[in-house]
Symmetry: C2
Subunit: 313 residues, 2 copies
Amino acid sequence: MSQNAILAVGSMAFDSVQTPAGKAESVLGGSVNYFSVAASFFAPIRIVGVVGEDFPRSHLQWLSEKRIDVSGVQVVPGKTFHWVGSYDGNMNEAKTLNTSLNVFEHFDPKLASNHVETPYVFLANIDPVLQQSVLNQVRAPKLVACDSMNFWITGKPDEVRKTLSRVDILSINDGEAFLLSGEKQLTRAAAKIMELGPSVIIIKRGEYGAVLFTRTGAFMAPAFLVDRVVDPTGAGDSFAGAFMGYLAEAQASREMATQSPEKWENLLRRAVLAGCVMASFTVEDFSLHRLMRLTTPELVARQNALMKMIQVL
Amino acid sequence: MSQNAILAVGSMAFDSVQTPAGKAESVLGGSVNYFSVAASFFAPIRIVGVVGEDFPRSHLQWLSEKRIDVSGVQVVPGKTFHWVGSYDGNMNEAKTLNTSLNVFEHFDPKLASNHVETPYVFLANIDPVLQQSVLNQVRAPKLVACDSMNFWITGKPDEVRKTLSRVDILSINDGEAFLLSGEKQLTRAAAKIMELGPSVIIIKRGEYGAVLFTRTGAFMAPAFLVDRVVDPTGAGDSFAGAFMGYLAEAQASREMATQSPEKWENLLRRAVLAGCVMASFTVEDFSLHRLMRLTTPELVARQNALMKMIQVL
């Protein structure tokens, strides 16, 4: 069993996206795809998802080459989930034009026996009932993080709360944090959400970066200023992938919060910066294209560049 | 002659403002008022402006008590400049409902002989022709900073460029930077503006903070997360006041950029953070109310808090 493996569950999809920079038809998308490719730079990944028979085998093969275990991907009769959306003036918010759930509608994540002991777990934005089903199957994870969205916060508020009571870390965007907490200010929103369970809240602010809230303070992480945003889709999921990957690589655990709080705080801060850097690559092209050609030296160079942009001596 | 005095020229006004938090009628405003009260926490200030006979003497007296030399304020027959505006959903952008220039329409800044040798000069957002008139009167300042706005960038582009060719530092908001540069991305916008003269560009992003661009790099400064934004008016001018005050207190000069670039860069970064902190107080109440009751211990506490929010060890 790998000491720093991450189990990620979420959607695998085709996306058709239009942005001010152009459009892409039926390209690879889905939260778990973005998450796992991002996380694979830091740790071995096991993904759980469902695709139809139209999903390209070449993609699963490519994921396998990236330390990503795709044995948990169910290939079932029917079509893969298809999302159609656009970004207009505001690149921080997608407009959904159409959602065809297809095989994703009956997704029922079942963990293989060799996956139940994975130490790090990420529950991407799916039905909170399914998120709990995954948590029921894993055995004593060291850290659990999740994401959610307006659709579930409004539609299944009690189930969202049940999930939150069982996770360590919530990664969510600002509008969702306000909706979930009933507050309109980040600090108060984070405090309210902490009462629901997670001791670490990351509030993503699109092109303005992210804010990390822990029991000991707040950390304001800026987004890296990219030359040109082509497509913001997947930025949040790849942020979460690098964040979780960074923590897994360092073999972080929730006990660190009490045993070595300063180390924990700094590790989380560095993980958030890793997330910001990864997201900045994602938005430079459609789909997973930029992440697929991303090299470790490029990643390290931008991590160093971002660090210099926040340093005060 | 004081080694770290700042000469500031700009508007003195009455503002009538409506925000989601409430409204204020004919309260004190104007760029030079916000600037000077903010800067007064760091250095002695000399202001140049014009008011009508309706301007309360008590305010000038109060400014005097704050190390602010108001002998350059012309009191002329007529009414003081009056701005009427509102903020709706977007607290980062004011909607101007009415502007009565009144005595400000014929403002012609004349420096007293004991003011021409002031080492630090701030030209708030006024007609670029007047900004140059002030520069023609001062003698060998150590640092000159200025602000501008869409109205002048569009209406007097050549004059704005003439001003920029003579200043060290430009402080401007993101929309204005895009308009001035013809670029839509911060880094490229800053690079284009640098070609016009200033070697330091600060691009303000409202509630998301500010980005500092120098010849050696970029620094991303977050805004401090206040409990409640009551009125954003004056945030940018008080930002500039604390920024300039911080540099004046440290007796910074443009030569530092070449003589001790690392010291210069760090001084600018700290000055930007001082600006962010000051702006965060300004927005907590209408008019200058919060700044007027701000204490140095409160200021220092928030500066330390913001520093902790960006630190990565």
